[in-house]
Symmetry: C2
């Protein structure tokens, strides 16, 4: 692990994406750098080693990138939290509001056993709507969400307050 | 590494998904099993260690799961190959035909440097259309695709023949 690693050097600001007026925090330079991606994964694995997690739930699609490495490194099961219609078999879903319209997340009905302690992983927390819906979904399936991990947190949008008291951990914030 | 590991025990057959008459090979039980997921990742990392790869390109979304762990383990840069409109900044794209309609893949224009040796990662090879389009896209960006890795190969669909001579490696086939 590199102490004092400056991850923000690997986040690229792209104005007006996905729409005019939004400053997008692009994480792809961190993915393309073995140093940055390695630092992220090692730092997270260190935090969550011995944390008492049973399973790691990654939110499609960028949450898959960090969640899968963490599941591998900690030897925990991985649960894909996906957009509707992507998962075969019996699923349960949770819909939530976006600024314009609605979105839905799905998991397979047998993805969680009762009482399992779940860490939810995504790349960015904005208003918190997606993370809150994922937490509700995993809770409805019988899991106990013990923490939400987001690589980036946009603090102005107060997403942390939308998480019904579930702790949020982020590596960097803007 | 577990010798003679039976990965097919962790693949679930789901009939009539995503549509009537299709037998879907569901990889989620392998993701939920630390033994199976660990075996996949360790086996792949062993194969590609010292293989002369510069970067690993994972195809959204399930290709992200295996590609990211491999990029982490081999300390190589990861390139997300995404559906249209997901990547910020300047992108290049490649469209291809599906049974009904068309699909498009995108990468950021600066994702590849000239001559970089690329491994493409996806979870399943069926007709090969997606993998062939990803290879064309990465080639157009200046990369040299040296192999396509798919966890599962559906041999009846002859996707291997659609890859313009690029070698395909799969862990299991049906």
């Amino acid at each position: 692990m590199i102490l004092g690693f400056d991850l923000k050097k690997y986040i690229r600001d792209i104005p007006d994406f996905p729409e005019k007026g939004i400053l997008f925090r692009d994480i792809t330079p961190a993915l393309e750098s073995p140093e940055a991606f390695g630092w992220i994964c090692d730092t997270l694995a260190k935090r969550y080693s011995g944390y008492g997690i049973d399973k790691i739930a990654g939110i499609e699609a960028r949450g898959f990138l960090f969640g899968s490495v963490l599941a591998y490194k900690l030897s925990k099961g991985f649960i894909p939290v996906r957009k509707p219609g992507k998962l075969p078999g019996e699923t349960i879903s949770e819909s939530y509001s976006l600024e314009y319209g609605k979105a839905t997340l799905e998991i397979q009905i047998d993805a969680v056993s009762a009482g399992e302690k779940i860490l939810i992983v995504d790349d960015l927390l904005a208003t918190g709507g997606t993370a809150a819906a994922a937490a509700k979904l995993l809770g409805n399936a019988g899991g106990r969400v013990i923490e939400i991990l987001s690589i980036i947190e946009l603090t102005d949008l107060k997403g942390r307050e939308a998480l019904s008291g579930i702790p949020l951990y982020s590596l960097i914030s803007y």
